[in-house]
């Protein structure tokens, strides 16, 4: 039974609150999912601990080649950030495709990761960026690669009754690096993706130095197309190579049949197209 709502003004204050409630308080940011889960009784807690008033969590910063996004930063703020648009354009694209403007104005990028939904657009882009999550708790601060954040569908490694994700960080793209985020949905807004693919790659001349390809929802969490990445690594980029990589990516995916958002067969078929398009766009951006 919900009894309290605490608006923390600092991380310290938030940590004290979590300690006081000893597992009975729960961290929220935008709260868009939390309020629905509460009323649908999918979640129970005694206290909602709101971190959106914590000033230090509302920043998007560039530090030593790293971009740091605070836990209270919304999708809209990311989408409209010049820093993100130039140094991680796929994330701006991904955050810009979430739900609707009203949702993007309240829901946070970090929340997109903590919710651990397999197709969360921003999380898919962040994984392609090689993002690392900063987790703060009483015992101190730790850093976890985003890929290790997922325990299962909708289950994050973070315990919101004890820990606070304070920020998420990733290397800013450099010249010669390119990215892309492509998405297939049933309509132009207010729709979860049937598929989304994020690519970040680094080209030297036309040789692929490294590449990260992330696909969703084709597994319980956003999935790296490792075979496809290996195939591209070190090779000179061309259409044939991209086509082969797209095929490899599909063989790594195990999408499920969704009565709402497409059969496994359809998703596999179209995944190849999306991976190919994402790679092509990323190459264009890198050149």
């Amino acid at each position: 039974m919900l009894k309290d709502y605490v608006l923390a003004t600092s991380i310290e204050e938030a940590l004290v609150c979590l300690k006081t409630y000893a597992g009975q308080a729960r961290v929220i940011a935008g709260g868009t999912d939390a309020m629905l889960d509460l009323s649908a009784k999918k979640m129970t807690t005694s206290c909602l601990l709101d971190i959106t008033k914590v000033k230090e969590l509302k920043k998007i910063e560039s530090m030593d080649g790293q971009i740091v996004i605070g836990a209270a930063v919304t999708h809209s703020e990311v989408k409209n950030s010049d820093l993100i648009r130039t140094k991680a354009p796929l994330l701006a694209e991904a955050s810009g495709s979430v739900g609707s403007l009203q949702i993007r104005n309240t829901a946070t990028v970090v929340g997109n990761v903590v919710n651990a939904q397999p197709a969360a657009d921003a999380a898919v882009a962040l994984m392609a960026l090689g993002a690392v999550v900063e987790i703060t708790e009483d015992a101190g601060t730790s850093y976890v690669p985003i890929e290790e954040m997922y325990l299962g569908v909708g289950q994050s490694k973070v315990d919101p009754t004890k820990q606070i994700v304070t920020s998420i960080r990733f290397p800013a793209l450099l010249p010669g690096q390119g990215s892309a985020f492509v998405r297939l949905a049933q309509r132009g807004a207010l729709a979860l993706p049937m598929l989304n693919v994020a690519v970040v790659l680094s080209l030297c001349e036309d040789k692929v130095e490294w590449v990260r390809i992330v696909m969703a929802p084709v597994a319980p969490k956003p999935l790296r197309a490792l075979d496809a990445e290996t195939h591209l690594q070190g090779a000179v980029i061309n259409d044939e190579l991209i086509a082969k990589a797209a095929k490899l990516a599909v063989s790594e995916a195990t999408p499920r049949d969704s009565a709402l958002r497409g059969s496994a067969e359809y998703r596999k078929g179209v995944l190849e197209v999306l991976v190919r398009r994402a790679l092509q766009q990323a190459v264009t951006a890198a050149r």
Partner: protein, 759 residues
Amino acid sequence: MKKDYTVVGKNIRKLDALEKAMGAATFTTDIKLPGMLYGKVLRSPYPHARIVKIDTSKAEALPGVKAVATYLNTPRVKFNTSATSTFTIPPLQPVEDQYIFDSVVRYVGDEVAAVAATSKKVAEEALELIEVEYELLPTVFDPLEAMKEDAPSLHHCEAGKNVPGEKIHIEMGDIELGFAEADNVFEHTFKLPVQKQAQMETQAAVAQVSVDGKVTVWSTTQTPHPSRRILATIFGLPYSKVRVLNPPYIGGGFGVRIGLSAKAEPIALALAMLAKQPVKVVYDRKEDFIASDTRHSGYVTVKTGVKKDGTFTARKIVGILNSGAYCSWSAEAPGVLGAMGLSIYYCPNQMYDGHSVYTNTTPAGAMRGFGNPQGMFAVDSQVDIIAEALRMDPMEIRRKNIMRPGLPWVLPYPCQSSGLEECMDLGAKAIVWDQRGKQNQDRDTIRRGIGMAIGTHVSNAWPFCGDYSNAYVTVQQDGSIQVASGVPDMGTGTITTLSQMAAEVMGIAFEQVGITFADTESTPFEIGSHASRTCYASGTAVVAAAQDAKKQVFEYAANMLEVTPGELDIENGIIYSTLTQEKSISLGQVAMEAHLRGQQFIGVGRIIPQNAPPYLAHFAEVEVDTETGKVRVTKMVAAHDVGKAIHPLIVEGQLEGGLAMGIGYALSEEIKYDDRGRQLNNGFHKYMLPTAMDIPELEAIIVEAEDPTGPFGAKGVGETGLVATAAAIANAVYDAIGIRFFEIPLTEERVYRALKECK
């Protein structure tokens, strides 16, 4: 009637617009009465079950709970949530197949019980305390399956297994002879999905019972008078002791509440009677999806005989629609499907057979177009198939066969006007029809296409159903007038249009007209807002009432001016003699003079409308991504013969809104069920109606082929916007990729699979 109108045809500020723009307009969901309780409904989790035991004691004991209603303590009177009881004319009998609550539940979402409590939260908590024991019964979800011998029976039916009401049969000429005369015969079956009205305001009602037993129900109904009849019948009250009204606005309808707002009204009233306090029932969005009427899904087969030159010799249509668990409008919708599907083209030999079939799914009822979009998707997809087989241009084959005034058709009223050919020509020009087939290169993966389709509809329900209207026009002592019509305004601009007509007839300024509407207590009987009828039929009644009032005024004024009534006319509130210049007097002076001598001019309009066919030609331009199957409509043109546009901006709004809904029907909107009979697409996030991002440029073109039967020549316009939209889009997709679809919506996956199969 003079052609040079001062009010009619003008884009006057809509009467409801200011209140709505300011957020001051009142809807049922906004009402709060002193002592008002909140009602919540317990719904069946099973598609078919018998309630073996129901125990409400724990719920009743919860503090704040004031009443719990079940089949055990509410009236055992059968009814139909739709207004069919009011409209059905003997020897046909309305199908009345449901109770407020029953001991058998027939679909997931069917009403089991309801609670009234001091807050929504308490009411919801109480629902969880109601203990119900169900005995599961066999289920059937597909109409073709439900017609089989061994299918479970949902209701007692005379016409056939699980067939509500009567089977529809329409016939003209000699169908066998027609097919014998044909050079080619084409036969195809099409499958249609469940579409949802998804009006913005969910079903809602507030019921209040006075200490002396008088009932007032504010609700979202499109038809207050027929709804009053249903409520009075269920609760055994004189009609005159039941008042049903809108408060005064409704957040959309599109057919979903022609009659009751699902069961919001009787549930609210039953609870109010038990609790002896006012009760408000507002469906949440999921309830609105799973437990209020949808469009009919089903199967339509079209068989057409055609000469080598493209002349149709015979057409037979068969329609089998899914009624869902209760009848609602399922006895009528198949009839409109057939009647409209046959009437768009002239063909001497025609036949239609159609009916609905009960299944354990959400009831299907009225939705904008009422069977016609289903029929026309089939008919006009097939016309394109025929055109291609005969190597004819789709425009040409249609031009050759379209219905024209004076020709015979299956409808029991004559076709007296048609601007269809002009619609086709203007639409073709706007979409640049000549580009068709010339837009793609061989290697393009994004392929473009253009398609068209045509259609017609009705301007009210007569003579398929009973349909009549009454209205009052009362001249006030200052010469302003008060119109009273029982029709609601659900956003379609009705009150503005009716007031325009009254002002035009009375010869006064629009600002001098006041209107009372959508209230059974202050208006005479009027069917309500459905069947594209309010402008045409309610308008005819208002015009008649205004003419009656004007006649009385002229008689009185003639005496005052010492002239004959026949020589009088009125302009801008001044009555004058058309023969002698100096003889004039204001309407206000006449009204005041009459008042001082004990008289008020009260005009009464009592009319049975005739009927008239609006016509439409739709043109779609699409892009198909052949790698993903995604179809995007890039432009849509709709040219409509509306008779006379009383308010062109309102007319455009109707057309554009219909187009958007039609684009959804064609591409993405569908409610599917899982194998346990549960709706999968039960909210806005899962039901893919279009957002602003999905709507392309829409061009509405108004053509005015005035009909002699309509007020100022007007015809119905409320539903025409989506009659041919899906067919036009499917035809455009064919033009783009050469694949014919016999089922909508054209989702990414459906198109992708077809593309794969073709390779």
